[in-house]
Symmetry: C2
């Protein structure tokens, strides 16, 4: 779809998609609206028809990214064809393949914006906190299921394990971004499953 | 020491210290030189006497922060009064106290700049990679010592464990910054010692 030929209904979606791509690389503060507008050929006036401000644009970007990510997450973590542990492994394997394809660039938009904005904008922080908390609950449920079905051999608290899992995963993405290789993600994958969750299979 | 009364020799140090404090909160791109100069009362001409550019300033800030941090790290991780595991625990306990004192703001300058700059500036990325790799080696040595002295009961590879330890720690700092509480750091502390390193004491 050419952004210029998109209907009005699509203009907002194009702006958000372009914003996600640029902010993923440059962060919120360093992304100029002019970068976004020229990248998708939308005039400034249209931007302010859809968004009250750059802050509003940023928040809608978080919402849109989060919704899309939650859908993807649900496809993997909700796939009952796989055991709970295999779903977690597939999630990490997919992330490692993605990182390789992107040459370890970009990382995770939510983590990038968290690092950048948590101290700078309370509205962003509150929204980002909701996002990371909801993801934590999603992972905690899968870990709980793995525990109930005795796929993992440890008496770990699922919410605590989910918090640790996501801390270690997000830290590994960041370190891969700096190293420009997946070694941190591979160490994460190995240790989270063999040592932290003590999975029975594989 | 009042910055205005500081000698020429101190001016550079004052600029760097002020830069560290501002960049820790606002990041590199979002920190204006005028913010730094007005915060420490140094004229623009003096700035360009010490630094070629904002990029040069940023790199010297990383170097200075890294040197200071390495010294602090050495005091804790090199303290032979404590066992290797107790040194690692002290390092994390100190970080948790610091986070509480700062109300979980700021985080780690190296991690913040890594997240922000790794895809934007190859010179920054290379320097940040050196810093995180050197820290990893420092932690790997302590984990190796803990293993040699049988303070930990797991046959974990020290370099892999150090990579995982630092990923999980940095991720926990970031998540604490978003939540504005130390829960991610407390989960990290609990699981890294009891489950990942399987420490014998405490």
């Amino acid at each position: 779809m050419s952004p210029r030929s998109s209907s009005k209904e699509n203009t907002k979606a194009v702006l958000i998609e372009t914003g996600i791509n640029i902010m993923m690389e440059k962060g919120f503060n360093n992304t100029g609206l002019s970068d976004v507008l020229s990248a998708c050929g939308v005039p400034k006036g249209s931007f302010y028809y859809y968004f009250q401000s750059k802050e509003d644009f940023g928040l809608q970007i978080i919402n849109s990214f989060d919704e899309e990510y939650a859908e993807q997450l649900d496809k993997v973590l909700g796939n009952r064809q796989l055991t709970a542990v295999d779903r977690l492994k597939k999630y990490i394997d997919d992330a490692i393949v993605n990182a390789e394809q992107r040459k370890c660039s970009r990382g995770c938009l939510i983590a990038n914006l968290s690092q950048e904005m948590a101290d700078q904008n309370e509205i962003f922080r509150t929204r980002l906190k909701e996002v990371i908390e909801r993801r934590r609950s999603t992972f905690a449920l899968v870990i709980q299921e793995a525990k109930d079905k005795e796929e993992i051999c440890t008496d770990i608290d699922p919410r605590e394990a989910a918090e640790f899992f996501l801390s270690a995963f997000e830290g590994a993405i960041m370190r891969s971004k700096v190293r420009k290789d997946t070694e941190p993600l591979l160490s994460f994958r190995k240790l989270i499953f063999s040592v932290v969750l003590q999975t029975r299979s594989r």
